[in-house]
């Protein structure tokens, strides 16, 4: 076994990282490019960020994406948490397996199929496609991710804590709010953040379900690029990368803290 930072390990690490991040790094660097030509380096500048501030179409799209992401992540978190609670607490009810299979289906279903089926549904129902249909579609997509995260936390939850709360005088709902919810909150928050990032960068489903007046940022970027890559696109993409990276880092920190406190609790629990 090769351990530590041997030359081979370092080389493979560098290669792997380069493979993953070189395109992104190039994009970020060129977003600070002074030149009008995307492929020619003309020195450092923030001019494309300034230009972005004046590009109202791009800003509108960003604002639409942000609102959809906030709304759909919140709805998905509520629904996903409820589904996780139902799956874990109800024990073995009739139809539990199909129920859980149906919840997890969007996890593995190709997005094109989800998008297309939603499009057909909205057309059949004669609903005007736009902001709300996209929000709804993103809720459908991201709910199962929240369920997976919250359920894994609930599986290790000591339900006698909730019983103890009831024993001490809490009605069931207050016992849930006072004891269970604070303890599973980190999982719920990281579920929300995952849902938020998934919605923010979704292109496939949004392109099926959105309509005029509700162009999301990924769709806007795609349509701009078709007319030729502008340095502005690099700038907006860099901002998106920053936002998503930030959210993912916070979510993983929360998940880590959650796991740590669970270990502590497990240590604390008498064996």
């Amino acid at each position: 076994m090769l351990r530590g930072f041997s030359r081979f390990n370092l080389a493979s690490l560098a290669l792997g990282l380069a493979f993953l991040y070189l395109p992104i790094v190039i994009l970020v660097i060129y977003s600070f490019n002074d030149s009008k030509l995307v492929t020619v380096w003309g020195g450092w500048s923030l001019r494309w960020y300034r230009a972005l501030l004046e590009d109202s179409a791009m800003l509108d799209a960003a604002w639409v994406s942000l609102r959809i992401a906030l709304l759909s992540a919140t709805a998905a978190t509520i629904l996903g948490t409820l589904a996780a609670l139902a799956l874990v607490r109800a024990g073995y009810f009739r139809g539990r397996l199909p129920f859980s299979a149906m919840i997890y289906a969007p996890l593995v279903l190709p997005e094109v199929i989800i998008g297309l089926s939603l499009l057909l549904l909205f057309v059949a129902l004669n609903v005007d496609r736009g902001f709300w249909t996209t929000t709804l579609a993103h809720t459908t997509l991201t709910m199962c991710f929240v369920t997976v995260i919250v359920q894994s936390r609930l599986l290790s939850f000591d339900w006698s804590l909730e019983e103890a709360a009831m024993d001490l005088g809490c009605p069931p709902l207050r016992a849930f709010l006072a004891v269970t919810l604070p303890l599973i909150l980190p999982a719920i928050v990281s579920g929300w953040m995952l849902a938020f990032t998934l919605s923010l960068d979704d292109f496939v489903i949004a392109s099926f379900t959105t309509g005029p007046g509700a162009t999301t940022l990924p769709i806007r970027i795609y349509s701009e690029v078709r007319l030729g890559v502008k340095p502005e696109i690099n700038a907006i993409c860099t901002i998106m990368i920053a936002v998503v990276a930030l959210v993912v880092v916070i979510a993983s920190l929360l998940a880590k803290r959650n796991a740590a406190s669970r270990d502590q609790h497990a240590l604390g629990a008498p064996m």
């Binding site: 006698s160 019983e163 009831m166 024993d167 001490l168 809490c170 502590q264 604390g268 629990a269 008498p270």
Partner: protein, 378 residues
Amino acid sequence: MAKDGAGAAGGMTDAAARPPLVRFEAVTKRFGGVAAVNNLSLDIGAGEFFGLLGPSGCGKSTLLRMLAGFETPDEGRILLDGRDIAAMPPHLRPVNMMFQSYALFPHLTVAGNVAFGLKQEHLSRPEIERRVAEMLALVQLHDLGGRKPHQLSGGQRQRVALARALVKRPKVFLLDEPLAALDKKLRAETQFELMALQEKLGLSFIVVTHDQEEAMTMADRIGVMSQGRLAQVGTAAEIYEQPATRWVAEFIGDVNLLEGTVSEAAGEAVTVTTSAGTLRATSPGAVAPGQSVAVAIRPEKFHISAEQPAGEAGNGLAGEVTDVGYLGDMSLYKVKLDTGIVVKAASVNVTRLLQRPIGWNQRVWLTFAPDAAVVLTS
């Protein structure tokens, strides 16, 4: 083993005189067709320390959880202070429980855990603070109020769980395997702390345990449970010295059961013909000649001797030692009787001899008084 004689006897008569605080009336609880608690009736008095003892899966925890309100009986009634509490949800019952896992809230401090139940009663802040401080002092945790549960030792966590439930001043305090998580030495200390606490507060304690020593040390009365039913209810001494059934005799401590038929019965004095010979024993209930019974003899009731006893005063069994176990305070012997049956005998090592007078393959005589052996009919 049991509480000091006077205390235990006093507790008993008090409990018998007052109407029962808790009454189980023909309670049945089934899980998927299997009866965890089967047509069980039991009275527990106010101020009583009651032990529910049984092997795992005997239904003792289910009984406790029905009293706490986490399970509802399928049949029968549970009365608390004469009131049927079947429809009362757990949060309204004047009953508190200490969970086996302690179930301390990890996101709250020690003081926060203890105050949790009082906050639900909407007491004033100073009142809550006063009672929390009082209770933490009672369990000797006054300087640890600011700690989180994971910063405490096992024994300290156990006392937080105690304080959190007792601060509610329940009518009945339920303890589910309260000492299972503690190491042996701490367990022995805590047993006496719990007894002192119960006496001080004058509450009814119901403790569920699978550890007979624990139940016998702490409880005024013990209910021995088997397969959802109460096999016997009585004081520790009653259960040990006068087991109701073969199962109870074998579950509590060590016992030799010699099967046979009654050949003579005159009141309590019974003569039984067993495969080990004709034995004279005591029967608490009436038996008739010809009835098949078992004679139960605890190992320590035998007097083991290397010399043949003179006279025929008591029961005598002759055999050969096949195994010796030296435990320090006492020695255990396995004796193969001349009739082929192997029995266990114990004797206290009163002298300090490195060479025991009785060793392997030695011929020994076991004698016991007729009142040391009990006749069991079921």
